[in-house]
C-alpha cells in the first residue's frame, strides 16, 4: 500500500516537473523565433515579465484577466476528458460573448445581478447549443467531431461578423474604419469584490466545482468512462444513455466556453468585426483562447485546479505579448506560436513518461500506445 502510494506521488511530481519543462522548452523555441526576427529574446521576455508580474497591481491585473481563459479551458477540459475533440472553442466563445452583449443590451435593466445572470445564461445556452451540434452529429451520424466543431467555428465567426456589422453595430463606429459591436451595458460589467473583479471569483469557483463534480460524482465518473471506452460505457450504462450523456457533455463544454465569452466582454467591452468578413485575429475578441486552452488543458493533465496557474501563465504571455508588439515590433502571435509549441512538445509527453517510468523497456511497436479515438 505504502509503496504504491509513494510511487503514485512520485509519478505526480514527475508530471508537474514535466509540464514545467515542456513550457520552458516552448519558451526557448519562442526565444529562437524572437532572435531570428532580429530582437533580443531576453529583453522580450523581461518586458513581458515586468509588465505582467512586475508589481502587485500588475500581477493582480493579470490574475483578473485570466478569468475568461480559465473558463474556456475548463470547457475544453470537460470535452477532452469525454473524448469530445472540441476544436471549436473560438466559435463557442465568440457566440457566448455576442449573446451576452445582445441580451443585456436588449434587456437594458439597472440591476447588475439580473443583467449579468441573464448574460451568462444566454451565453451558456448559445455556446452549448453550438457545441452540441457537433456532439449530436458524432453520436447519431458518425461525423468526426474535430472536423465538425472546427468548421462550425468558422461558421460562428462569420455569423458573429454579420451580427456585429448589421443588427448590433455600434452607432459610434458608423464612420470609423474599425467596425465594432455595441458595448456591453455598464450594469452587465462584472463589479469588483474584495479588490478583484468578480469574474475571477466566478472562474475560480467554476474550477473548484468542476474538480468536485469530475472526481466525486457518478456523472463525472461516467464521463471519464465514456471518454476512455465508449463501447464499454454503452454496454454497461446503456447505449442511448451513453449517447445522450455524450451530447450533454458537448453542450456543457460549449456552454462553459460561452461563459468565458460573456466574462470576456467585461474586459473588451465590445466585439470588433473581423477583417475580410469573418476572420478573427489573435488580437481580436477571443485572443485565440479557444486554441490556447487546448494546450493548457493537456498541460494540466485534465485537472481543473491545475488549469488556474496554466491560464495565468498564458494570459501573461498574451497581454505581455501585446505590449511587445507595440514596444519592440514583435508580432503578438508569438503567444499562439508558443502555445502551439506546447501542444507539439506535449504530444511527446506520453513517450517521455513511459521511457522514464519503465526504465529501459522499449515503447511498444506492435501494440499501439496512442488510444484510438472513436
Amino acid at each position: 500500500m505504502n509503496a504504491s502510494k509513494s510511487s503514485e506521488t512520485r509519478r505526480q511530481t514527475l508530471n508537474v516537473l514535466l509540464s514545467i519543462i515542456i513550457v520552458l522548452l516552448a519558451v526557448v523555441i519562442g526565444a529562437v523565433l524572437v532572435f531570428s526576427s532580429g530582437q533580443n529574446p531576453i529583453t522580450a521576455y523581461a518586458t513581458i515579465f515586468s509588465s505582467t508580474f512586475g508589481s502587485t497591481s500588475d500581477f493582480l491585473n493579470t490574475f483578473e484577466l485570466s478569468a475568461p481563459l480559465i473558463l474556456v479551458t475548463l470547457g475544453l477540459l470537460l470535452a477532452f476528458r469525454t473524448s469530445f475533440w472540441n476544436g471549436g472553442g473560438e466559435g463557442q466563445m465568440l457566440l457566448g460573448g455576442l449573446a451576452g452583449i445582445a441580451v443585456t443590451h436588449t434587456l437594458n435593466l439597472g440591476n447588475s445581478f439580473v443583467m449579468i445572470t441573464a448574460g451568462l445564461v444566454c451565453a451558456f445556452l448559445v455556446g452549448g447549443a453550438w457545441a452540441a451540434l457537433s456532439g449530436a452529429m458524432k453520436v447519431w451520424f458518425n461525423v468526426d467531431d474535430i472536423v465538425s466543431s472546427l468548421l462550425l467555428s468558422v461558421v460562428a465567426s462569420y455569423l458573429v461578423s454579420y451580427l456585429v456589422r448589421i443588427p448590433f453595430r455600434s452607432p459610434n463606429s458608423a464612420e470609423s474604419a474599425i467596425i465594432s459591436s455595441i458595448s456591453i451595458p455598464n450594469a452587465a460589467v462584472f463589479p469588483t469584490l474584495f479588490g478583484l473583479n468578480t469574474s475571477i471569483w466566478f472562474a475560480l469557483t467554476a474550477a473548484v466545482v468542476m474538480y468536485y463534480v469530475l472526481s466525486r460524482t457518478k456523472f463525472g465518473f461516467m464521463t471519464k468512462v465514456i471518454g476512455s471506452n465508449r463501447q464499454t460505457a454503452a454496454a454497461y450504462f446503456g447505449k442511448s444513455r451513453t449517447n445522450w450523456m455524450f451530447v450533454l457533455v458537448t453542450f456543457l463544454s460549449g456552454g462553459i466556453i460561452g461563459l468565458g465569452g460573456m466574462v470576456n466582454t467585461t474586459f473588451t467591452s465590445n466585439i470588433i468585426a473581423g477583417a475580410s468578413g469573418g476572420a478573427y485575429s489573435a488580437a481580436g475578441f477571443t485572443s485565440s483562447y479557444g486554441f490556447i486552452g487546448i494546450a493548457i488543458a493537456f498541460l494540466a493533465q485534465l485537472n481543473p485546479i491545475a488549469v488556474i496557474p496554466g491560464s495565468i501563465f498564458f494570459v501573461a504571455l498574451v497581454t505581455g505579448g501585446l505590449g511587445l508588439s507595440v514596444q519592440l515590433q514583435i508580432p503578438a502571435s508569438l503567444t499562439v506560436t508558443i502555445s502551439g509549441m506546447v501542444v507539439l512538445v506535449l504530444s511527446l509527453r506520453e513517450t517521455i513518461v513511459k521511457r522514464l517510468s519503465r526504465f529501459g523497456q522499449r515503447p511498444s511497436m506492435v501494440e499501439p500506445t496512442i488510444p484510438e479515438r472513436g
Binding site: T217, K218, S228, N229, Q231, Y236, Q361, M365, V366
Partner: protein
C-alpha cells in the same frame, strides 16, 4: 530530479551486471549455441521491470523442426521471455544467439528481418483493412489468386474481402500464423496460441504447424498454460515459475502430473480435474438446484451485419440457479447471440421476456440486473486507461452507492476483494489496467462481474487466457453463484469446461442453435459432430 537519480542508479546496476558477466571465464571455442539442433537460444536472460524480476537467469532454446512449449502460470515470465528473444524487449543481462552467432536485436522488426516471427495474443493485423489488404501489405508482389491459394493451403476459410475487425480471434490468429509461415520464417514464436483457438480448430492448427516445422526446418516455440495441448502436440517442454526455468524435459518423458507440479509448486490441481469420461465430473459436492424461470428467449434472430454472422431463430429458457452452456467453434454466432440477449446488439425478430416477479410481465431485460463478460473485454467491458478501482466502478457504480456521488471507499473494498478472489497480480487497485498482463486483464472483468448482484450472468469465454489454477477458482465462483440462485449463460468453445459446469447444453453452428438439452443427453461425440456441422 528524482527520476533521474533513479534511472542513473538503474543504469549502474545493469552496468555492474554486464561487467559481472564478462568477468566470467570465457566458454571454450566459438560454439555459442549450447544446445544441439538449436536455431535460436536465449542464454541466462534477465529482464527486470522496476523491482520485479520478470525473467531471472533463464536459458531456453528453440530447435529446428520441432514444436516446443514454454509452460507457466499467468505472470511466470513466459511472454516476457519471448519478447526478450525477439527484440521487443532488451534483456538486462544474458545473450541471444541465432544461427550460431550472437545477436542484439534492436527492435521486433529487426528480428523479423532475420526470420524470427512472433504472433501475440493480441492480433497485429490492421483491423480496418480487409484480409486481402493485410496480405498485400505483407506480400506486395503477390496477387489475389496467390492469396486465395495461400489461404487454401492452410485450410483457412475466410473471404479475402472480409474486414479483419469482423473476424473471430481464432481466425485472426491463424491468419497471422499463415502470414508468418509464408514469409519464410525460420523461427515462429507463438504467445498463447491455444487460448483463442476453438477446441475443434486445435488439432488442425497444430498438425499444420508440425508439417511446416518438419518440411522447412522451422523452429517453433509456443507458450501456453493448457497442458493437454502441450502433451498432445509438442516435443519438448520447458516450465517457468516466477521468472526461472524450473524444468526442461521431453514431453514424452514427462506426465501431466509432473508438469502441473512444476508449474504450481504445490501439487494441487485445484478442485477440478478434467477426466476423459465425459459429463460425469461434478466437482462440487452440492450441485446448484434449478429455481424459477427467469428468462424466455423465443425465436431470437440477429441479422448478419457486415460480415458478422447472424443468428437464426434461437429459443431456450434460463432458470435461476441453473447454468446453460452454449458451445460452438468461434465465429458461429455465439457472440452475437450473447450480445442480443444482453441487449447491445439489435435483434431482427424474436422476443426476450424476463419472468421476474418484480419485472412487469414480458418486459425487456434490465441491464442493471444482468452481468456480462464479453468475448473481448478490451473492446467491450473494460477501460484500459483507467485503474482497476475505476474499472470496478463501471458496473458497480450504482450497487456501491445509492447517492449521486461515487463511493470510492466501497469501490476500493470491492476491488480489493476481487483482486484477492481471483488472485489478480498487481500492486494495488490504483494500477492502470493497461499495465496488467493479458490473463490479469481477463481476471479484472470476471472478478468485477462476479461482484455484482445480478439475476443473470452472461459469460462469454470467461476462462480465456487464464491458467489452470485461476480457472479452477473461476469455476468455483460460477458454481457458487448458480447455487445462490443466479441464472448463468455460459458461452464456451471448450468441451471440458461446458461438460464440467453446464446443466443444460446447446450447440451452435453457423448461427443455428440446437435444442438446449440436459447434459446427460449429450455425448462428446454427438456434441463434436454438431459443432462441425455433421448431423448426429
Amino acid at each position: 530530479m528524482r527520476a533521474r537519480s533513479v534511472s542513473n542508479c538503474k543504469r549502474c546496476e545493469s552496468v555492474r551486471k554486464v561487467v559481472y558477466i564478462s568477468d566470467r571465464p570465457k566458454k571454450s571455442g566459438f560454439t555459442k549455441l549450447k544446445t544441439e539442433g538449436a536455431i535460436l537460444e536465449g542464454q541466462d536472460l534477465v529482464k527486470r521491470f522496476g523491482a520485479l524480476v520478470a525473467v531471472n537467469h533463464a536459458t531456453l532454446a528453440v530447435r529446428r523442426g520441432e514444436i516446443d512449449v514454454l509452460l507457466g502460470e499467468n505472470g511466470a515470465g513466459k511472454s516476457t521471455y519471448l519478447k526478450s528473444l525477439n527484440g521487443y524487449l532488451k534483456p538486462d543481462a544474458g545473450s541471444v544467439y541465432f544461427e550460431d552467432r550472437k545477436v542484439n536485436f534492436t527492435s521486433a522488426r529487426d528480428a523479423i528481418r532475420s526470420g524470427i516471427y512472433t504472433v501475440y495474443q493480441r492480433s497485429s493485423l490492421i483491423n480496418s483493412f480487409s484480409v486481402g489488404e493485410n496480405l498485400t501489405l505483407a506480400f506486395p508482389g503477390k496477387s489475389i489468386s496467390d492469396f486465395r491459394e495461400m489461404l487454401k493451403r492452410y485450410e483457412l476459410a475466410v473471404d479475402l474481402n472480409s474486414r479483419v475487425s469482423l473476424l473471430s480471434s481464432g481466425v485472426k490468429q491463424r491468419l497471422e500464423v499463415t502470414r508468418a509461415l509464408e514469409s519464410e520464417a525460420k523461427v515462429l514464436l507463438l504467445d498463447e496460441p491455444t487460448s483463442v483457438l476453438a477446441y475443434e480448430e486445435r488439432d488442425e492448427f497444430f498438425k499444420g504447424l508440425a508439417r511446416s516445422a518438419k518440411e522447412r526446418g522451422i523452429g517453433i516455440l509456443i507458450t501456453t498454460h493448457k497442458l493437454q495441448d502441450a502433451i498432445a502436440y509438442c516435443t519438448r517442454a520447458t516450465v517457468m515459475r516466477a521468472g526461472r526455468v524450473v524444468m526442461q524435459k521431453l514431453v514424452s518423458e514427462t506426465s501431466l502430473n509432473e508438469l502441473t507440479t512444476a508449474m504450481f509448486q504445490t501439487a494441487s490441481k485445484g478442485a477440478f480435474e478434467v477426466t476423459e469420461e465425459f459429463g460425469k465430473t461434478r466437482p462440487m459436492s452440492e450441485a446448484p438446484r434449478r429455481g424459477e424461470k427467469f428468462m424466455d428467449i423465443a425465436g431470437l434472430s440477429v441479422a448478419a451485419d457486415g460480415r458478422r454472422r447472424g443468428v437464426a431463430s434461437a429459443s431456450f429458457t434460463l432458470y435461476r440457479g441453473e447454468i446453460v452452456g452454449i458451445i460452438g467453434i468461434a465465429g458461429n454466432g455465439q457472440v452475437e447471440l450473447a450480445e442480443a440477449i444482453y441487449g447491445i446488439r439489435n435483434r431482427s425478430s424474436g422476443t426476450i421476456r424476463v419472468l421476474s416477479p418484480k419485472a412487469k410481465e414480458g418486459s425487456e431485460p434490465d441491464l442493471a440486473r444482468i452481468g456480462y463478460v464479453s468475448d473481448d473485454p478490451v473492446q467491450i467491458g473494460l477501460a484500459l486507461d483507467l485503474s482497476i478501482r475505476e474499472n470496478f466502478g463501471i458496473s458497480l457504480l450504482n450497487q456501491s452507492s445509492k447517492t449521486p456521488l461515487v463511493d470510492w471507499k466501497a469501490l476500493e473494498k470491492l476491488s480489493q476483494e476481487g483482486i484477492r478472489g481471483l488472485e489478480i497480480k498487481c500492486d494495488s487497485p490504483g494500477v492502470v489496467v493497461r499495465e496488467l498482463s493479458g490473463g490479469n486483464i481477463q481476471k479484472v472483468i470476471v472478478a468485477r462481474e462476479f461482484a455484482r448482484n445480478v439475476d443473470l450472468l452472461i459469460l462469454v469465454h470467461p476462462g480465456r487466457g487464464l491458467d489452470v489454477h485461476t480457472t479452477s477458482l473461476l469455476y468455483d465462483r460460477i458454481m457458487q453463484l448458480a447455487r445462490n440462485g443466479v441464472a448463468v449463460l455460459l458461452i464456451s468453445e471448450d468441451v471440458d469446461e461446458i461438460s464440467l459446469l453446464a446443466d443444460r447444453i446447446g450447440v451452435i453452428f453457423e448461427g443455428r442453435l440446437s435444442e438446449v438439452k440436459p447434459k446427460d443427453q449429450w455425448s462428446r461425440q454427438t456434441m463434436g459432430a454438431m459443432m462441425v456441422g455433421v448431423k448426429a
